[in-house]
């Protein structure tokens, strides 16, 4: 279904150079119409630079950016029908909230009355009508954030860029804004490009995510794809919690790879294209895809000794020692009315996993 959607922003082999430093190395991405798209990565990965290039605040060193088949890389920011919600909001301090929201409309050539009317509507959308005549400095952080959103949405941009807009808010407010943003995106039908370093935020809101690191896109996919099938070490490590094990591939048969890890443990998992017999690679297993038992399972098991149990309300994480300093984390959900069996430290147990939960990673 999504194959039929037109491409809203097409980034073609875009390179960004700051002096000798290459911030982006030939990035290509197609962001679809009406999509909630997230650029996710640690600070310095180039995600904000890419966003600023789409907005027009940075020029491209090489490559091209298209907005619905129109080349925009050379256009100044005020000629692009793209608006931005800035990380620090950048609200105009000398103007009232209403004037802030109406500014873009006024600059588009709408009459003062028309701009005012529409700005009022936008404030209604973000539930700030009663603050229309206040100055931004008289609002709380969360309210300022919503003004910034209303201001960016008011001129009805074709694409909305959001540069870590929630990072200054506290946890609770952030959670509710995540849902509100997603809701507004659905309602307005505008393509959102969201930048964040918070993987949970990205997983919560996005239709698709581009995981970035060191100026490159490491993996592109839906939240599930990225979480369940990380392509490489970086993605597996960055998204969610995982056990990373160094393994050697012994043989590959029928799409299954038999590997061994330190201490004589053996494991079989799905083979991955590009990893051949004899390769020293990493294996990723999510802690919640493992379970502990006094009996080995029919599929895959490893034997270990319990080191510690960490209780965090919703679940319990058990840290195990698999000999030779190899540690393993297993997470069990505390959902079974408190019937979860907890093994005491020092006890020897089997770590069982289902088929498909261990994944070989390209480095």
């Amino acid at each position: 279904m999504k194959d039929h959607r037109p491409i809203a922003i097409d980034i073609r082999q875009v390179v960004k150079q700051f002096g000798d430093f290459t911030a982006l190395k030939e990035v290509s991405l197609g962001i679809e119409d009406n999509e909630f798209f997230t650029l996710l990565g640690p600070s310095g990965c180039g995600k904000t630079t890419l966003l600023r290039m789409i907005a027009g605040f940075e020029d491209v060193s090489a490559g091209a950016i298209y907005l619905y088949d129109q080349e925009i890389a050379k256009l100044p920011p005020n000629k692009r029908p793209i608006n931005t919600v800035f990380q620090n909001y950048a609200l105009f301090p000398t103007m009232s909230v209403l004037e802030n929201v109406g500014f873009g409309l006024e600059m588009q050539g709408k009459s003062k009355a028309e701009a005012k009317r529409r700005a009022g509507e936008m404030l209604e959308l973000v539930q700030l009508s009663q603050f229309a005549h206040r100055k931004p400095s008289q609002l709380s952080g969360g309210q300022q954030q919503r003004v910034a959103l209303a201001r960016a949405l008011a001129p009805q941009p074709r694409v909305l860029l959001l540069d870590e807009p929630l990072s200054a808010l506290d946890m609770k407010l952030r959670k509710s804004m995540q849902i509100e943003l997603k809701h507004i995106q659905r309602e307005t039908g505008i393509t959102f490009i969201f930048v964040t370093h918070d993987q949970e935020e990205a997983l919560t809101m996005s239709d698709r995510i581009a995981v970035m690191s060191a100026g490159e896109v490491q993996q592109l996919g839906t939240a599930r794809e990225i979480y369940e099938r990380p392509r490489n070490m970086f993605v597996a490590d960055f998204i969610g919690d995982t056990n990373l094990l160094e393994v050697t591939v012994d043989r590959i048969e029928d799409g299954r790879a038999a590997c061994h890890l330190g201490g004589g443990h053996e494991l079989t998992c799905d083979a991955v294209a590009g990893i051949n017999t004899g390769a020293h690679v990493h294996l990723s297993v999510r802690p919640e895809r493992l379970f502990l038992s006094s009996q080995p399972s029919e599929t895959e098991s490893l034997r270990g000794r319990v080191l510690e149990n960490i209780f965090v309300g919703t679940d319990i994480t058990t840290i195990l020692d698999l000999d030779q300093g190899l540690q393993f984390r297993v997470r069990a959900s505390n959902s079974d009315r408190g019937n979860l069996r907890v093994y005491e430290p020092g006890q020897s147990v089997f770590v069982n996993m289902e088929r498909g939960s261990a994944r070989l990673l390209v480095d």
Binding site: A55, G56, F57, P76, P77, N78, K79, I82, N83, T84, F86, N88, A90, L91, F92, P93, T94, F103, G104, M107, Q108, R151, A152, P155
Partner: protein, 309 residues
């Protein structure tokens, strides 16, 4: 001012009340000696009778003010006529000072903007470069300016060599000469407060405005200027006020026909030809005028802000 300090201190209870008077003493002393005493002295002198070799006779007289405003004395037999000569000097001074302020703003703003947008480690160097000429005495710089601007000076030579003009331009002893002198003397007083304001300006506001379809000129007038307005006002006052009372530039670059108030007052206190009460009276009139202008500006500003909110 005392009222402001007291009301500001309310929050911290009145345990400090007895000490407060003493702690404020240094401030009152400085204000009294440096600000109040000279003005009061001037005010008194302006109402005394002049002594012919300079100085005053301690006898009340309105003669100084009479001389300033009226031609045939207010107290003579004939009907008094208004004395325009001094008013003209006043008018010329205000005009020249306003022009100097305008040009300083015109050149100073881009300069300050340029410096404020350099990388942080380069800004100090630029500010340093702006201030270097001001380590030399103003008198010497004004005399040098006279040398540069004169008919056979380097400026005229250059312009003729380039071929812009065929005859040397007469700049010395014209209003233009005075204007150049004032502009040059007070430019840094415009650049420095502007720089301080622009440096604190959040440039992501300009980005936000550009993002919201504002062209460059609109960004300047709607976003940047309102944000740095305190710096603009400070710069304008710092250029306008000393320009108005300046006497070196008008003396050295203007000559007799381009007199400004500063020179007029300066002359009254020089040698034995002076007239101290008249100089004092002219000073008082100038002071009143400046205060009136500033008060009107401040009131307008307050009214504007009230209307906005």
């Amino acid at each position: 001012m005392a009222g402001g300090a007291a009301s500001g201190g309310n929050a911290t209870s009145d345990a400090y009340a007895p000490a407060r008077g003493w702690l404020l003493l240094p401030a009152w002393l400085v204000l009294g000696i440096v600000v109040l005493a000279p003005i009061v002295l001037m005010l008194i002198y302006s109402f005394l009778t002049k002594e012919f070799r300079g100085g005053v006779i301690w006898e009340f007289s309105l003669e100084a003010y009479d001389q300033f405003f009226f031609d045939r004395g207010l107290f003579g037999d004939e009907a008094p006529t208004i004395q325009w000569a001094y008013m003209q000097i006043f008018w010329r001074s205000i005009w020249q000072a306003s022009l100097a302020t305008f040009f300083c703003l015109l050149i100073g703003f881009p300069t300050a903007y340029f410096i404020a947008t350099r990388p942080a480690n380069q800004r100090t160097i630029w500010v340093f470069l702006i201030t270097i000429p001001y380590w030399v005495n103003l008198l010497i710089r004004t005399v040098s300016m006279r040398f540069i601007l004169r008919d056979q000076g380097p400026l005229n030579d250059l312009l003729q060599w380039v071929g812009v003009i065929s005859e040397p331009l007469t700049i010395i002893n014209t209003n233009l000469g005075v204007q150049i002198g004032l502009f040059y003397s007070y430019l840094p007083f415009m650049v420095l407060p502007l720089y301080a304001a622009i440096e604190r300006y959040n440039f992501s506001l300009s980005e936000a405005a550009a993002d919201l379809y504002a062209p460059r000129l609109k960004i300047l007038t709607r976003i940047v200027l309102p944000a740095v307005k305190p710096g603009v006002i400070a710069g304008c006052i710092l250029v306008f006020v000393p320009s108005l009372g300046s006497f070196l530039a008008p003396d050295l670059l203007g000559g007799a026909r381009n007199f400004m108030i500063g020179s007029l007052i300066d002359e009254q206190f020089r040698g034995s030809a002076g007239n101290w009460p008249f100089g004092a009276a002219a000073s008082m009139i100038l002071l009143t005028l400046v205060l009136l202008v500033l008060m009107v500006l401040a009131r307008q500003q307050a009214r504007l802000e009230k209307r906005e909110s």
